[in-house]
Symmetry: C2
Subunit: 427 residues, 2 copies
C-alpha cells in the first residue's frame, strides 16, 4: 500500500468517526455543549505552559526551515493569543444556542402544523494555515452549533495543534460528549487535505481559512460544499449627492483602517459631477498614508492637477486586483448606473458601499448591487461577523447559496421541516 492510499484510509476512518460522533453532538443539550467549552477554556488556562512549550517546538522547526517572518508571526502563541482564545471561548458560551429553534410554525388547512427547526449541519471540515488559535476558535463554534469537526491546521503548527487537540478531547469526554466530536488531523501529509475535501459522505461542509492560493486550489478539487470567499475586491461609490464629510471619512477609512483585510476598499468610484471637488480633498487624506492611486484617465487629470505625488495610470488589471496594500484604484463614472455596471462586472461580490444623501440612489444601490454586503454611508470595513452582531465568525462567504456574507453560528446549521400531525393522511 502506498503512502497516499494509507493517508486516504486514515482520513476515511477519521470521517467515519466524525459522522458517528455528529449524532451525539447534535442531540447534546445546550448546557452540555457550553460545559465542554468552559472546560476547554479552563484547561487552556491551566496548561498554558505545555502549550507554550509545544509552540516553541513549532517555532524552532519553522526558524530552522527559514519560514518567512510574517508566517512566524502568525505561528507564535503569545500570552495575549492564549488569553484571547480563552476569552473567545467564553464569548461563544454566552451566545444563544442556535440549535433546536423552531420558526414559521403554521397550521395548514389539512390540520398539520408545519414549521422549520434549526439543526446542526453534521460534520464541518476546517482547513487553515499556521495560526494555532484557529484550532480553538473553530472547534468552539462547531461545538456550540452541535456539529462534529475535523480540523486540518498548517503543518508548521502540528505540535501546538496536537497539544490543543488533547485538551479539547479531554474536555469533550469530561462533559459527556464523544471525544471524536473534534478531531485534529495528525499528519502533515498534504494528501490529507485532498481526502478531506472529497468525502461528502462524511463531511457536510468545508470552511477554508487562509490565503487566496489555498482556497483557489481547494475550489479546483473539492466535492464537498465550501463556505468561502476567494478575495475581497470592495468598492466605494461616491455619488453626485454625497455629503462631502462622509465621503472623505468613509473613503479614507475603507482604504486605510487596515490594508490586509478582505473588506478593505480596493477601488474608489466617483461621480463625474463631484470628482473635481472631492478627489483633491480625499487625496490630501491619502497623502498622510502615502497611498498609491492608480487612476483612470479622468481621475488622473484631476489628481495630477492637484499634484498628488503617488499617482499611477490604471490599467484594466487594476479593476480586478486585491492590493491588500496602500494602493487604490480610482475611476470617474457617469452616475449610479455606470458605477453599478462597474461593480457588477469587477467586484468579487464581497462588500460595496455608496456615499449619498439621495434616497432613490441609496435604495437602487442596495437592491441592485449583487454583493454579499451592500452599504449606504458606512465604511466597507464594517463587513465583519462581530460588527454585524453575529457574536463570532467562522468565515465570510461570497457565494449566494446557503450562507452569504459574514458567517456565524447560523451558517453552521440548516433548517429542516418539522410537521406536527394528529393522525392526518393525504386526501
Amino acid at each position: 500500500m502506498n503512502a497516499v492510499a494509507s493517508i486516504n484510509d486514515y482520513m476515511q476512518a477519521l470521517g467515519q468517526r466524525a459522522r458517528a460522533a455528529s449524532r451525539a453532538m447534535a442531540r447534546a443539550s445546550s448546557a452540555t455543549r457550553n460545559r465542554a467549552l468552559e472546560l476547554i477554556a479552563q484547561a487552556i488556562e491551566r496548561e498554558a505552559d505545555a502549550l507554550r512549550a509545544a509552540n516553541r517546538q513549532d517555532m524552532d522547526a519553522a526558524l530552522a526551515n527559514g519560514l518567512a517572518p510574517a508566517l512566524l508571526d502568525r505561528l507564535a502563541l503569545s500570552d495575549k493569543a492564549i488569553a484571547t482564545m480563552i476569552e473567545g471561548l467564553r464569548q461563544i458560551v454566552a451566545l444563544p444556542d442556535p440549535v433546536g429553534e423552531i420558526s414559521n410554525m403554521k397550521t395548514r388547512p389539512t390540520g398539520i402544523q408545519v414549521g422549520q427547526m434549526r439543526v446542526p449541519l453534521g460534520v464541518i471540515g476546517i482547513i487553515y494555515e499556521a495560526r494555532p488559535n484557529v484550532t480553538v476558535d473553530a472547534a468552539g463554534l462547531c461545538i456550540k452549533s452541535g456539529n462534529a469537526t475535523i480540523l486540518r491546521g498548517g503543518s508548521e503548527a502540528i505540535h501546538c495543534n496536537r497539544a490543543l487537540a488533547k485538551i479539547v478531547k479531554a474536555a469533550l469526554l469530561e462533559a459527556g460528549l464523544p471525544e471524536d466530536g473534534v478531531q485534529v488531523v495528525d499528519t502533515t501529509d498534504r494528501a490529507a487535505v485532498g481526502a478531506l475535501i472529497t468525502m461528502p459522505q462524511y463531511v457536510d461542509v468545508i470552511v477554508p481559512r487562509g490565503g487566496k492560493s489555498l482556497i483557489a486550489r481547494l475550489m479546483q478539487e473539492a466535492t464537498v460544499p465550501m463556505i468561502k470567499h476567494l478575495d475581497g475586491i470592495c468598492h466605494v461609490y461616491i455619488d453626485a449627492k454625497a455629503d462631502l464629510q462622509k465621503a472623505l471619512d468613509i473613503g479614507f477609512n475603507a482604504k486605510c483602517h487596515r490594508y490586509g483585510t478582505c473588506n478593505t476598499m480596493e477601488t474608489l468610484l466617483v461621480d463625474r459631477a463631484v470628482a473635481a471637488s472631492i478627489l483633491p480633498a480625499l487625496a490630501q487624506r491619502y497623502l498622510t498614508e502615502q497611498v498609491e492611486l492608480r487612476a483612470d484617465e479622468a481621475s488622473y487629470a484631476i489628481l495630477e492637477g492637484a499634484a498628488y505625488p503617488h499617482l499611477v495610470r490604471a490599467t484594466e488589471e487594476d479593476w480586478s486586483t486585491e492590493y491588500l496594500a496602500p494602493i487604490l484604484a480610482v475611476k470617474v463614472v457617469d452616475g449610479i448606473d455606470a458605477a453599478m455596471d462597474h461593480i457588477n462586472t469587477w467586484s468579487s461580490k464581497h462588500t460595496e458601499a455608496i456615499v449619498t444623501e439621495d434616497y432613490s440612489a441609496a435604495m437602487r444601490f442596495l437592491r441592485e448591487v449583487d454583493s454579499a454586503s451592500v452599504m449606504v454611508n458606512a465604511s466597507t470595513r464594517f463587513a465583519d461577523g462581530f460588527e454585524y452582531g453575529l457574536g463570532a465568525e467562522i468565515g465570510i462567504s461570497n457565494d449566494k447559496l446557503h450562507a452569504r456574507g459574514p458567517v456565524g453560528l447560523e451558517g453552521l446549521t440548516s433548517l429542516k421541516y418539522v410537521v406536527f400531525g394528529h393522525g392526518e393522511t393525504r386526501k
Copy 2:
C-alpha cells in the same frame, strides 16, 4: 470547429445573455413581473391551437421513434394540461413577492443598522425531461422571484417548447422586461446540458427535474450548485406508544396514496412491543392493494402467522431501495434508538415520520432524525410544497445547505446583508 465546440459557444452566449438579463429581472417591480406572468397566461389561452399543433409534431416524432407509452403520456399536452398551466401562472401571480423584503434589521453599538435583504439568485438553469408544462411552471417561478432562466427541456418536446418560448419572450417584452429573461435551449444536442452545468460564471444554480438516472449523471459533472434530490427512501416508525388507528391510517396512506412519488414510504419500522398486534391489522389494509411486503425475520414470522399472501423475505438491499411501486420493506426494531439508527443509516434524508403518543419520543425523533422533513403522526405524503403552504414548488432538496425539503420561491432567492449608515467609520 467541431460540433461540441460550437454547442459550447452557443451555450456560453446564452449564459452571457442570461447574466445580462438577470440584472433587469432583479430590479423589475413586482407589478412588472406579475404583468409578464399574466401576459403569458393570456397568450397560452389565445394560442392554445398553435401549442397543440406543435405538440402534435412532437407526438408524431415520438411515436415514429417508438417512445415508451409512459413517456408519450408525459409528452402529451392535453386541454387539461393547458388549463393547469394557465391556472398555475395565476396562482404564482397571487403569491407574495419574495424579492426586496428586509428582515432582522438591528442597530449596532457603532450606529450602523444591519439587516438582510432577500434578493434573486441571478440565473437559474432548469433541466427536465419530456413534460412541456415544466417550461411554463419553471419560467413562472423564476420570473416571480426576479431571476433569469435557461430552460433545457427534453428533446422530445422541442417543438412545443419552442412555441412556449416564443410566447414567454413576447410577454416579457410586452411587460418591459428583457426577452433574454427566459431562454429555451434550442438544440437537442446533449452537449448543451454538459455546458449548462459547468458554467458557474453565468449560472448560479441548476434545478434538475427528472428521474434518478438524469440527476445521478448531472451530479457527476456539475460544477454549478444544484437544488436536487436523488431519491426518496422515506420511513414511517410505529412506536410502542402509537395510537392504533393513527398507525393504520398513516401506515396505509404513506404507502398507498400514490406509488410513484418521492415522499411515499418505502420502509416501515415497527417497535417490537406492538409489532404482533399492529402488523396483522395493517396487513389487512395492504391486502386491499396487494402490496408486496418484504419482511425482516421478526416481521416475517408475524405476517406469516397472519397468512399474508404477498410476503417475501427482505434482504439488506431492500433497506436502500426506492420501489415506487406497491412494495414495502418491513422491519421490527427494538425501540426508538434502533429505529433512528436504521433511518440515519439507510434513509435518503427526504422524509420520515413517527407515529406515537409519547411526548419525549416525538421530541427526540424530531430533533435527532437527520432528514429534510421530520413528522409526528402525519403521512409522509404531506412533504410537498403545496401541502406546506409554499404556494408552488420548483423542486425538493435532500441536501442540507441552502434550501432543504420542498423548495418554493424562497429557495430561488438569497439573503444579502444591507447596512444603513450615517457616515460611520471603523474605529
